[in-house]
Subunit: 303 residues, 2 copies
């Protein structure tokens, strides 16, 4: 089960009633965060996300509304007695950016392990130490500066069948070992996970893309995602030129990607501060793609 | 008239219901801000402060809860079409700190004029271009890093006396020139400001000190302030050792300074996130110094 919370849905600047876009995901008791603008630590607390469980931070790009909350977040993690390393992933140059922003942080009681991703080519990786069951893919998007989208595939353990285990006479204290994927030796016989489970469960795919113009890469990487989180700055065509110039996306463009990519559901985010009530477009949006959610801060789902 | 708004009253980390300590002051249509932690731009908007009028920023020290909101604030000022320079004052090293934090800001459409103050000795100065009627004094306080307190003396124009002006036959369109302090020539006679006003008005003094242990310098600089804004992290003595170690102040210590300095009123601020309801100490506090205000976010006064 992956718990996802879109704690903030704003773009450009934090508003009194709308935090900047950031997404918190929890899987097997460990948490990941995508983007960290000003106020993200309050947004997370507001939405009931357990910041203390944060193990990994993904940054899309270096515009302030996606990273300026970093020093405060890092210090608060220290106050929450974090001692295990924090992994930070982001575009090329993130090591220097984190170092500069940390000029206002005292010594942190945990290690930062920073990985610079290729901002121009897709990269597939796993997060060391965190969980071998998460495949992460970063891919370039089309913004005014180098910017990365992320796609996560969470593998899920097969369903354990207690009847099969009992029939084989396997002691209960060994069930979790078998369920985790390890084989055991019992009275000279090798018992494998497949022998006590009911086949594979579908993995969960989540894709996150902001800030960007629509691109084929986004559609390709979002393909058949269970959840696609994508920016929609405005709805109306009148902003089209401005969006092209600034490297952002309109809501209808995000809806078209969701449709083309055959995703299960689309959560819109990164609304312009000038678009005070995105819900007014709910009906028009669902006519283009009926799996759309006009997200609010704190939007949650368990997948 | 000086309009003062303590937009935030928290210390360490921003909370859902308590912004980080920052003070906005407006005088003759121009605004100053002291400190700028994460979320300060929202705190100001929340309290109805006109961010677009900001001309000068004073920073006390480089801990994140006093400066991490800077990149977002600078970008938002740009979005508000600011073109006049922003003056930034702070301890030695502030030029480098601002430069580092601005690594996530695109080019700003206005100039930053940064002045490094002597963090170890008192310094008296005026803000060029802003207003010749504000005398600012910075003075060292006693924190875990170099930290500065500020004292502001706002001179006020003498009261204009229309009867005196009429008796001298001065045309109404020249009254404001005379009131501003300039003499005029009228029919061969020199008319001075003193001839059409009723003497000096008392200046307004505001002193701001956080984060610090109590020091004689604070008492000395706060002497007879109309408003003294001072930190009070906790009330209870049980935190005394921790406050000494970390360079912070207890509420009773702030009250004693206010009493010794004979200030008109003390606004407490920079509460610990662990002190959820500082108002519970209102009666005890007023027994030590009856001009105390247990400030809330958005506390305002016109002086």
């Amino acid at each position: 089960m992956v718990d996802v919370c879109l704690a903030g849905t704003g773009g450009m600047m934090p508003l009194k009633n709308r935090w900047l876009t950031c997404c918190f995901m929890e899987y097997n008791g460990k948490a990941m965060l995508i983007d960290c603008g000003e106020g993200t630590q309050i947004a997370l607390s507001d939405a009931g996300c357990k910041l203390s469980r944060l193990e990994t931070l993904f940054i899309t790009h270096f515009h302030a509304d996606h990273i300026s909350g970093l020093p405060g977040l890092l210090l608060s993690l220290g106050n929450y007695s974090k001692v295990t390393p924090l992994h930070i992933y982001g575009p090329k140059g993130i090591t220097g950016i984190v170092k500069k922003l940390c000029c206002i942080c005292a010594v942190l009681p945990y290690e930062l392990i920073i990985t610079e991703l290729d901002s121009k080519n897709p990269t597939t990786f796993r997060i060391p130490e965190i969980d071998s069951m998460i495949d992460v893919k970063s891919f370039p998007v089309d913004h005014s500066v180098e910017c990365i989208g992320y796609s996560f595939v969470f593998s899920r353990k097969p369903i354990f069948n207690p009847e099969k285990a009992s029939a084989l006479g396997i002691p209960k204290q060994m069930w979790s070992v078998l369920h985790s994927g390890q084989s055991i030796e019992l009275e000279g016989n090798t018992i494998t996970t497949e022998m006590v489970t009911d086949g594979e469960r579908k993995s969960v795919k989540i894709t996150y893309a902001t800030d960007s113009r629509p691109t084929y890469d986004i559609t390709d990487n979002a393909f058949r995602s269970d959840l696609f989180i994508c920016e929609g700055m405005y709805f109306d065509d009148e902003y089209s030129d401005s969006m092209k110039k600034k490297g952002h996306m309109l809501i209808p463009e995000a809806l078209q990607i969701a449709k083309d990519a055959q995703v299960q559901r689309l959560w819109l985010t990164h609304y312009s501060p000038a678009m005070m009530n995105p819900h007014q477009y709910a009906i028009q949006a669902s006519r283009i793609f009926d799996g759309v959610v006009i997200s609010d801060d704190g939007q949650k789902i368990s997948l």
